[in-house]
């Protein structure tokens, strides 16, 4: 009898505490590349995301937030397990974080099937931009082709004939050269694909030397970019054949590693340190304060992903089960580090693309400077094939 009484007291307490329960927390699954050659990218994106969450008082759209971070080791199998855990065990409300397109393509469908919105802060494969676009997919950064399109346009206006183009053989690498060729109209000296995560480029550099191009354009993310540029400079080619890069291969992470040889290189980006808007100024200042380094475009993308979630969750009044309304809120856009940002029906942003040049600042720091505007309000090339509204 006594025991039953105790049980009733306990049950009563449990019920009481339930009724006092906190407002629901929103769970974010953050799967990213945090080890290996691509780690610098994932770490910057994660730090940017965490910074935004912290500046929002650990809330997104007014709800307390829990960010669950997992490392995909740049390995599709590991990523699939991590995503599975996020979906089945952690039951997250949103997912984000993946850096590499081949990883995203391996896990995307599993996420969309669970009707979980995936906010890509980096990977923007063409596969999800056209016919296979998905209502649960958004990309806060760019479509893979975009930065390369911008550089193709720039190299074209500089009237370089005979350009050697090189990229790793994976979805984003193929998107890169497709994008470049879409706007570069001159002759291609050779189109070469290297292995993903290759570190010794002596064979490719020998090919470049043999082809005698007027310029070289290459997309090499993370450690690959560091190694390529170092070896290109060591081989003495940097002085002979100008090198053009997308922002990915010429941002603060690469500059830190390569140093002086980078000075003078032109690159394209959708974001820049000195973009003149309050969101960006606060981001750059707080990032430097928190992590004691210059943020990269990846960090800005991580920061923006958190802001995008914040705006949409706020718009649906914190009820994250209203998936259709969430989608409308995402499409409506938000105030990003690049100013007000709007989205196409395929989930990709409409934005400006800038030209940047690596320069040495008066205080000796080597840094990227805005050098002009290449595209204004530019969309990706696949949006017309997407049937979504």
């Amino acid at each position: 009898m006594k025991r039953i009484l105790w049980l009733m007291v306990l049950l009563g307490l449990a019920g009481f505490s339930l009724s006092l329960a906190q407002p629901r927390t929103v769970k974010i699954g953050f799967v990213s590349t945090l080890s290996g050659g691509g780690a610098a990218l994932g770490i910057d994106a994660r730090d940017g995301f965490n910074l935004a969450v912290r500046l929002l008082n650990n809330q997104l759209g007014g709800l307390p937030v829990e960010v669950i971070v997992a490392d995909d080791q740049q390995n599709p199998d590991v990523a699939r397990q991590a995503v599975d855990r996020m979906l089945k065990r952690e039951r997250v409300d949103f997912m984000t974080g993946i850096i590499f397109s081949n990883i995203l393509l391996a896990v995307g469908d599993a996420i969309f099937e669970e009707k979980i919105h995936y906010i890509s802060l980096n990977a923007g494969p063409s596969e999800y931009a056209g016919e296979r676009c998905n209502p649960y997919f958004f990309n806060v950064a760019w479509q893979n082709d975009n930065l390369h399109e911008a550089m193709g346009q720039y190299v074209n206006t500089r009237r370089f004939e005979n350009v050697f183009i090189l990229a790793p053989n994976y979805p984003a690498g193929r998107d890169a050269l497709t994008g470049f060729k879409r706007f570069y109209k001159g002759k291609i000296a050779a189109e070469v694909y290297n292995r993903l995560n290759q570190l010794d480029f002596s064979a490719e550099i020998a090919q470049i030397r043999a082809a005698k191009p007027k310029a070289v354009y290459t997309f090499q993310p993370g450690a690959m970019g560091v190694n390529f540029i170092k070896q290109y400079a060591e081989a003495g080619l940097l002085r002979e054949i100008p090198l053009f890069l997308p922002g990915f291969s010429a941002d603060a992470d690469v500059i830190r590693a390569v140093g002086r040889p980078m000075v003078g290189i032109y690159n394209s980006s959708h974001w820049a340190l000195e973009l003149n808007n309050p969101v960006n100024q606060r981001f750059v200042e707080e990032f430097r304060k928190a992590y004691n380094r210059t943020p990269t475009l990846y960090a800005s993308q991580g920061y923006d992903a958190a802001l995008m979630l914040d705006a949409a969750i706020r718009a649906v009044g914190g009820d994250v089960s209203r998936k259709d309304d969430l989608r409308k809120a995402f499409l409506a856009g938000f105030n990003s580090t690049r100013g007000p940002l709007k989205f196409n029906p395929n989930g990709y942003p409409i934005q400006n693309y800038y030209l940047r040049q690596v320069v040495q600042a008066p205080n000796g720091e080597i840094i990227n400077r805005l050098a002009g505007n290449i595209f204004s309000n530019h969309s990706d090339a696949y949006v017309s094939q997407c049937k979504l509204k």
């Binding site: 053989n169 070469v192 002596s202 560091v226 190694n227 060591e234 081989a235 590693a257």
Partner: protein
Amino acid sequence: MLNGVQFGLMLFLLAAGLTLVFGIMDMINLAHGSLYMIGAYLTATFVGITGVFWLGVLLAVVGTALIGMLLEFSILRQLYRRDHLSQVLATFALILIINEVVRIIWGSQPLLLSAPEGLSGPIEILPGLNYSAFRLTIIGVGLVVAMGLFLLVNNTRVGMWLRAGASNREMAQAMGVPIKPLFTLLFGVGAALCAIAGAFLGPILAVQVGMGESILILAFVVIVIGGIGSVKGALVGALLVGIVDTAGRAFLPLLLSQVASPEVASNLGPALASILIYLLMAVVLFFKPQGLFPART
């Protein structure tokens, strides 16, 4: 071509240690690649501390040799009497343990190791042909170390013991060769060679966890081609493999792109190039089952 020589010489440094350990101690040491990784990490660390590349390399080589000898003394010594399967399993476990330890100490992000300031530029070796000064240095260092190793093996008492041990271990032991300290020393030398390779490949590749495994397989191919236990074989084998691999990667895609689309060519090219090495191994083994320069006859 020069790239091939440079890569081959670095492979030789790895393979020389491996072939001596394998040939003389009859011990398969898969953890050899881990010593290479440790060498690279120590170099990156010491260069960071001292700020002088060469001093850092020297410290790292000594440090790695000590670690290698410690490993031999504490763990590997127990394995000599066991069969090859136990050796493979135990040293494979060592790989995993060392990888994790390195991850704990240095983190999972690759370390940055830059070539010394004066060597990071190009040098004009022929009119109109620039080549990386650092890679030239690597070739020089590789040649010097190879010469030193030859002198050590062919012209000194220790070398004589080594050769004796390689051709017939029991007999050498019976003739009074101090086998235990010799093995420890040998292991230290092997580790030091690994460290040199790690220190000089670090700035070209990246200093990261797992860098040892990928190159270990090539080192095994080298010693099989060269003949197990033979330093001369290791040198010839390493140069062959280095040149075939680099030439294959540089020129096969070019040849293929004449007949196929660039994506296909760049997919097939490296694949074919890596097959080429094993093809070379198969051909050598077909005509010379003991390798090019067999140590035992």
